[in-house]
C-alpha cells in the first residue's frame, strides 16, 4: 500500500504542499483527488513517484520508506503512473510503445542477443493489453499519426503495461471532449480490481463517476478525505468550488 506521511513541499518561499497525510490500501476503493488549479495535485504525484523530493515528510510504499528512493526503484515496487501531458515515444508505433512498457520489468530487459520479437509471449501480452484498450488495429501506426484521444489511450496503456499494484493517473481525460472523457472513464472502471487506482481529475463528471473515495486538495492542504457523496455536500468544499458545477 501507499502511505504519505506529513509531506510538505516548498519551492523557495512558496509552500505548495503542507502536512499531507493519507493512506491507500491495496485493493481499496478507487481514490480520486480533486482540487482547484494550483492546489498541488501533480506536485503530490511527483513526490510519490520520486520525480521531486519533498521538503519534509515521508512516503512509504508497501511498508518501505521510499522517500529517497529513485523513480525506477519505486516503479519496480509496483507503482505505475500516467502523465497529464502525454509523454510517449514519438517515433515508435503503438506496438513498440507498448512493448517498451511491457519489457520494463522483465528479467530479459538487459539481454543483448536475441531480438525482442523472438520473445513471443510479449507479443501475446501486448495483444491482450491493446485489445483491452481498443488500439490493437492501430498497433503499427506511429504515435504522431494518432488522434489526441488515441494518444491518451496509449498513455494509459503505458501506465498499465508494467502491471502496477498501484496506478497513479494524472488527469487521464485532460483535453478530451466530454463524450471521450466519459468513454475513457468507462474503460478505467473496467480495470482490474486488485490494482488500486489513484486518479487526479479536473472534470467533475468523470471524478464522481470514478470515485469511491475522494480527497480534496486546496492550497496544498487536504480539505476533505472520504466518501464522495459526503464530499459533494460538504460546505467547506462547496465554498472552495463556489461557482463551479459539482458534477451533477
Amino acid at each position: 500500500m501507499l502511505k504519505v506521511e506529513k509531506v510538505y513541499k516548498n519551492f523557495g518561499a512558496l509552500q505548495v504542499l503542507r502536512d499531507i497525510s493519507f493512506t491507500v490500501e491495496l485493493g481499496g476503493p478507487r481514490l480520486v483527488i480533486i482540487g482547484p488549479n494550483g492546489a498541488g495535485k501533480t506536485t503530490l504525484f511527483n513526490i510519490i513517484t520520486g520525480e521531486l523530493s519533498p521538503s519534509g515528510g515521508k512516503v512509504y510504499l508497501f511498508s518501505r520508506d521510499v522517500t529517497k528512493a529513485p523513480c525506477h526503484r519505486r516503479a519496480h515496487l509496483g507503482l505505475g503512473r500516467t502523465f497529464q501531458i502525454v509523454d510517449l515515444f514519438p517515433d515508435f508505433t503503438v506496438m513498440e510503445n507498448t512493448l517498451l512498457g511491457l519489457q520494463a520489468h522483465e528479467p530479459f530487459r538487459f539481454h543483448m542477443i536475441r531480438p525482442l520479437t523472438s520473445y513471443t509471449h510479449m507479443t501475446e501480452k501486448a495483444r491482450t493489453l491493446l485489445e483491452r484498450i481498443g488500439l490493437w488495429e492501430k498497433r503499427d501506426f506511429p504515435i504522431n499519426s494518432l488522434s489526441y484521444g488515441e494518444m491518451r489511450r496509449v498513455e494509459l496503456t503505458l501506465g498499465l503495461a508494467i502491471e502496477p499494484k498501484i496506478l497513479l493517473l494524472d488527469e487521464p481525460t485532460a483535453g478530451l471532449t466530454s463524450s471521450e472523457s466519459l468513454e475513457l472513464a468507462g474503460l478505467i472502471q473496467t480495470l482490474r480490481r486488485d490494482m488500486t487506482l489513484v486518479v487526479i481529475e479536473h472534470d467533475m463528471k468523470v471524478a464522481f463517476t470514478l470515485a469511491e473515495r475522494m480527497i480534496v486538495l486546496h492550497h496544498g492542504e487536504i480539505l476533505a478525505d472520504g466518501d464522495p457523496e459526503q464530499i459533494r455536500t460538504n460546505p467547506k468544499v462547496r465554498e472552495v468550488y463556489l461557482g463551479e458545477r459539482m458534477g451533477v
Binding site: 516503479a75 503512473r81 515515444f89 517515433d91 520494463a104 543483448m112 542477443i113 525482442l116 503505458l158 508494467i162
Partner: protein
C-alpha cells in the same frame, strides 16, 4: 532495408558478399588498402552510432578509446614487450574497458550537454597526456612507428595486404553482427527508448543510468577494436588518433551516413574517406571543407546517405508498383 522483400535481400547480400570476398581481393592494391581502411573506420563510426545514434549520448571523445587501443598495440609491439597478438589485443581492450568504466561512471550520470562537454574535455586530457606527459612512452607528436603485422598463429601471414584485408573483413563482420544483434534486442530497444524519452523510461522503471553506462563501455570496446586494427594496418600511430578532431570526425561520418541507421557507419566511412582523399589532393583545408559538407548534410540530407538511399528505394518501388 525493411522495405526490400526477402528475395531482394538475399540478392543484395549475395552480391555484397561476392564483392567483398572475391572481387575486392582481386582488385589493385590501392583499392584493397582503401577498402580495408574504410572497413576499419566504419567499425569506429559504428561505435559512435551505437552511442549517439541509438542512445542519444553525444560523445565528443570516442577518439580516446580508438587512440588508446592503437597506442597500446604500438607500445607493446614496437618495444617487443608482448609478442602474442591475442594477448596484445586483450590487454588493449582491457585498458579500454578500464578507461571507459572509470570515466563513464562519472560522465554518464550527467545531463546530455554536460556529457558532451565532459567527453570533449577528457578526450583532450588524454591527448595532452599522450603528447606531453607520457612522451617517453609515446614519443609525443612523432608517434610510434615500426608496428609489425600480427602473427595470428594461422598458416597465413598478415604481412600482405590481401590477407590482412580478410582479417579486417572478418572482424568488421563480427562487429557489425554484434551491433545488429544489440539493436534488435531488448537492451537495444531500451537504448532507443532512452534516446527518445528518457523521462518516461525512468517512470516505467528502467535504470537508465545502467543502460547508458553499459552502452558507453560497449561503444568504447568497439572503438578499441577499430583502433587495434588501425595500428596494425597503418604500422604507425601518432597523437592525431587521440585528438578531438578525430572524435568529431566520427560524428560527422555518422551523420553523413545516416544517424541511427544500420548502414550509416559504413556509408559514412565510405563517403568520408573518399572525399578526404580527393579533397586533400587539392587543398590542405580539409577540416573546413568537412564542416561545409556536414552543414549541407544536416540542412538538406537529414537522413544522411542511408536516408537518401532508402528514400530512393521507396520512390523506385512506388514507380514500379504504379508502372
Amino acid at each position: 532495408m525493411g522495405i526490400l522483400a526477402q528475395k531482394e535481400k538475399l540478392i543484395f547480400f549475395g552480391l555484397l558478399g561476392i564483392l567483398l570476398i572475391v572481387i575486392v581481393p582481386l582488385s589493385p592494391r590501392y583499392m584493397q588498402t582503401l577498402i580495408t581502411s574504410i572497413l576499419i573506420v566504419s567499425i569506429y563510426v559504428g561505435s559512435a552510432n551505437l552511442l549517439t545514434g541509438y542512445t542519444g549520448l553525444v560523445s565528443l571523445g570516442q577518439a580516446m578509446f580508438w587512440g588508446s587501443a592503437a597506442y597500446m598495440v604500438a607500445i607493446l609491439t614496437s618495444r617487443g614487450l608482448v609478442h602474442n597478438f591475442y594477448l596484445i589485443s586483450l590487454l588493449s581492450l582491457i585498458m579500454v574497458v578500464v578507461l571507459s568504466a572509470t570515466f563513464g561512471a562519472l560522465a554518464v550520470r550527467t545531463k546530455r550537454l554536460y556529457f558532451m562537454i565532459l567527453t570533449f574535455a577528457f578526450g583532450h586530457v588524454v591527448w595532452a597526456v599522450a603528447m606531453y606527459s607520457l612522451q617517453t612512452l609515446t614519443q609525443g607528436f612523432n608517434g610510434i612507428s615500426d608496428i609489425r603485422r600480427p602473427d595470428l598463429g594461422l598458416p597465413w601471414s598478415m604481412e600482405g595486404h590481401r590477407n590482412f584485408y580478410y582479417l579486417v573483413l572478418v572482424v568488421a563482420g563480427l562487429c557489425f553482427t554484434v551491433v545488429y544483434l544489440i539493436i534488435r534486442s531488448p537492451f537495444g530497444r531500451a537504448l532507443v527508448g532512452i534516446r527518445d524519452n528518457e523521462h518516461r523510461m525512468v517512470a516505467l522503471g528502467y535504470n537508465t543510468f545502467l543502460y547508458k553506462y553499459l552502452c558507453y563501455v560497449l561503444g568504447a570496446v568497439i572503438s578499441g577494436v577499430g583502433g587495434i586494427l588501425y595500428a596494425y594496418f597503418n604500422g604507425y600511430v601518432n597523437p592525431s588518433e587521440l585528438h578531438w578532431l578525430w572524435s568529431g570526425d566520427a560524428l560527422m561520418m555518422m551523420f553523413i551516413g545516416g544517424v541511427g541507421t544500420f548502414w550509416g557507419p559504413v556509408l559514412g566511412a565510405l563517403v568520408y574517406t573518399g572525399l578526404r582523399y580527393w579533397v586533400s589532393a587539392y587543398t590542405r583545408y580539409w577540416f573546413g571543407i568537412e564542416g561545409v559538407i556536414f552543414i549541407l548534410v544536416v540542412l538538406f540530407f537529414r537522413g544522411g546517405a542511408a536516408g537518401f538511399l532508402s528514400e530512393l528505394q521507396r520512390r523506385l518501388s512506388h514507380r514500379s508498383a504504379q508502372g
